[in-house]
């Protein structure tokens, strides 16, 4: 599986997911801190409550305490506890001592000391001395001294927790009042809430994002397909419907306009070339008729050859404008017979062209065009390379139509240039042989029309090798 998404939608979804996770982490930390704070102040409040209520040591029986509690419950009085406040374990009875005992492992809590002091003073308690520490419950001497308390601690699972021990001596009092508040359990609910929240937000956001993004990516994908198709065929179709957000619609409309403009230009070019072809061919035909009255036969032959040259160049130019724009579908054709038929045309004119026989290969091709490409390559081979050997090769991936000659080949750095229009090998010397220098360009266009390519290489044993390789699908 690919982890890094490549599509626009995938990447935006990933970015959104990461952003949500980050935001939720921050939220989680904040929520946790808030919970901690609430727990803290709840403990201090609980301690303060004990310390404010009783200013002097008094002997109360258990019976009395219960009576007071019951009365308070009946009055509907409860300890003010905010809804989110952590549930505190039952407090431990206030202890009165002359001097608060210090145990090993005690952690003084100066910050809380001040908070508690402020709390008590706001309730009108005059504090002479204050001491707040945190201590392990099991290390507290009072737990050790009172087995029943110890049992209760065990029952409620408080053994391993800390006590907040708050000792206060009021002004004028001889003894310290020591309140102990067991630390409440850390709330599990908080984590669960955050997790659940994250999940819900994540699902809502990504699913809505998914559908929103589809509105963008669908027209984009259609546009990409359309552009690819247009690049391949240069034929404008119905304009693409402008869908999606406005930016995308603008892009689609711009593409439609561009497509129309390009295909308009191409059409114009084709019409123009067609007109040139027609307009030039008629006077050429007139000229061809007129030279028949030239008495000198060799002169007449030369004139005819020039006219034939011009005609061939004209045909090449017109073909180049037309290649790839045929309305006819490709036809199932025996490539071996096609190659043989083209070679035979040359053989019949007594040209040194040989063929290496190959069994049938039947593929859909544009016959007229492929024949034309072969003809161009073979006549080049004969013209510049003395003789041509034509062979057909096939492997899993490609079908190759190969034309080898025994000529001087082409300088390696000129090979690429040779495929460009109006280029000729050693222009001055071959001027007499004519042609507009479009033969190879046309052959290449025809190879490309078939989804293949034209490759020229110099053979190790000398001579040029031209190969039309077609995909063997």
């Amino acid at each position: 599986m690919r982890l890094w998404p490549r599509s626009l939608r995938g990447q935006i979804l990933l970015a959104a997911t990461l952003a949500i996770l980050l935001a939720q982490c921050v939220t989680a930390v904040l929520l946790y801190r808030a919970a901690e704070n609430r727990r803290d102040s709840a403990m201090l409040n609980a301690a303060a409550l004990q310390l404010v209520r009783i200013s002097e040591p008094q002997e109360t029986t258990r019976f009395e305490r219960r009576r007071v509690q019951r009365a308070r419950r009946n009055r509907g009085e409860t300890i003010d506890r905010p809804r989110l406040a952590p549930r505190l374990p039952r407090p431990i009875r206030l202890e009165w001592v002359d001097k608060p005992a210090q145990v090993e492992g005690d952690q003084p809590q100066y910050g809380r000391e001040e908070e508690l002091l402020a709390l008590l003073q706001s309730q009108g308690v005059a504090v002479a001395e204050i001491l707040v520490i945190e201590r392990k419950a099991s290390a507290d001497p009072i737990v050790a001294a009172r087995p029943r308390l110890r049992a209760r601690m065990g029952r409620e699972g408080l053994d391993n927790r800390n006590f907040l021990v708050a000792a206060v001596r009021r002004e004028g009092a001889a003894q310290w009042a020591v309140a102990r508040v067991p630390e409440p359990e850390v709330q599990r609910g908080v984590q669960r809430t955050i997790l659940f929240q994250t999940l819900v937000i994540f699902l809502l956001l990504t699913s809505s994002l998914f559908f929103f993004l589809r509105r963008i990516t669908r027209p984009l994908a259609a546009l990409a397909d359309r552009t690819e198709r247009f690049t391949a065929r240069q034929q404008a179709g119905e304009p693409l419907a402008a869908e999606g957000p406005e930016d995308i619609q603008r892009l689609i409309r711009a593409h439609n306009a561009m497509e129309a403009r390009i295909s308009g230009l191409i059409d114009e070019k084709d019409v123009m070339l067609g007109a040139i072809g027609h307009d030039l061919k008629t006077p050429l035909a007139a000229l061809r008729v007129r030279i028949e009255s030239v008495e000198d036969e060799s002169e007449r032959e030369k004139m005819a050859a020039v006219i034939e040259d011009i005609t061939r160049s004209l045909d090449d130019i017109l073909s180049l404008a037309r290649v790839g724009k045929g309305n006819e579908p490709p036809e199932l054709t025996d490539l071996a017979a096609l190659t043989a038929a083209v070679v035979e045309e040359f053989e019949d004119r007594g040209m040194p062209v040989h063929i290496i026989d190959h069994p049938r290969i039947v593929r859909p091709v544009y016959v007229t065009w492929l024949r034309r490409a072969l003809r161009n390559l073979i006549s080049n081979a004969v013209r510049y390379g003395n003789e041509a050997t034509v062979s057909l090769l096939e492997d899993n991936k490609k079908i190759i139509l190969r034309i080898d000659d025994t000529g001087p080949g082409i300088d390696d750095d000129r090979i690429a240039d040779m495929l460009e229009p109006f280029t000729r090998g050693e222009a001055s010397r071959n001027r007499a042989t004519g042609g507009a220098g479009l033969g190879l360009t046309l052959a290449r266009s025809i190879a490309e029309q078939h989804g293949g390519e034209l490759v020229l290489t110099n053979r190790a044993e000398g001579g040029l090798r031209a190969e039309i390789s077609l995909p063997n699908a």
Binding site: G277, H278, K281, T282, P283, L284, A285, A286, L287, R288, V289, R290, E292, S293, A304, I307, T311, D315, L318, R322, E328, E331, L332, T333, D334, A337, L338, A340, A341, V342, E344, E345, E347, D348, R349, G350, D357, V362, V367, T368, R371
Partner: protein, 244 residues
């Protein structure tokens, strides 16, 4: 020489620069030539005289050559040779399909045009129904379309053949199950491009066999007859075209 001995031609082309020298040339070649600058002019001329053959430019302002051609072939049964500037195979085939007897692409060799005029006239004289000449041949699932010069195998795969092979095959298909010797074959296939047949007939036959026989060394269609020549062994049929 009486007037009727001259072959009369009607040349229809809007381009005076071509029409006039061509008419002169044809007159020098012994034809009686009338000229028309447009399809309309041609139609009015045709009301008075009937030429033996019409030379017709395809691209003309007003009514174009193809439309006039259809009229000439269907209503008047006149042989037509199209003069076209377009070289595309499809354009030529359209011309032939609407009934033109032949076509030349501009610029053409005047002598070739004359050869084609004579060949078309010969054909027109021989057979009153020239349409039959265009219907495809069939043998053992193979099809040869004489109009498009297309040979397709029983699976419909196009098997390219050269002009020489086409003529040779057509000669065989016209005379199935007859023994044809080399001279007869040469006679039958010699068209206007006689030079194509400089090579021995045997050579063309072995090429043709490679393309249509399953095993060219053990041929089933084109069989060698000892001492006599060749014989086309398969049954040949020519279903008439669907159109009228």
């Amino acid at each position: 020489m009486t007037e009727t001995a001259l072959t009369s031609l009607l040349l229809v082309d809007d381009e005076a620069s071509l029409r006039e020298p061509l008419a002169e040339y044809l007159v020098r070649q012994g034809f009686d030539v009338q000229q028309a600058v447009s399809a309309a002019a041609a139609r009015s001329l045709l009301r008075e005289t009937v030429p033996d053959l019409v030379l017709l430019d395809v691209m003309m302002p007003g009514e174009d050559g193809l439309s006039l051609c259809r009229h000439l072939v269907e209503a008047r049964q006149l042989p037509v040779i199209l003069l076209t500037a377009k070289g595309e195979a499809t354009d030529r085939i359209i011309g032939l399909e609407i009934g033109a007897d032949d076509y030349v692409t501009k610029p053409f060799e005047p002598r070739e045009l004359v050869a084609r005029i004579r060949s078309v006239l010969r054909r027109a004289g021989r057979a009153s129904s020239t349409r039959l000449a265009d219907s495809p041949y069939e043998f053992e699932g193979w099809q040869l379309d004489p109009l498009k010069r297309r040979l397709t195998d029983p699976e419909g795969v196009l098997v390219s053949i050269s002009t020489a092979e086409f003529r040779l095959l057509r000669a065989f298909l016209d005379h199935p199950r007859q023994v044809l010797d080399r001279d007869q074959l040469l006679n039958m296939v010699q068209g206007r491009e006689a030079h194509l047949f400089d090579r021995a007939v045997d050579n063309q036959i072995s090429r043709l066999r490679r393309k249509i026989e399953a095993d060219s060394r053990n041929p089933e269609y084109i069989v060698t007859v000892r001492g006599g020549g060749y014989r086309f062994a398969a049954k040949v049929s020519r279903p008439l075209p669907d159109k009228d």
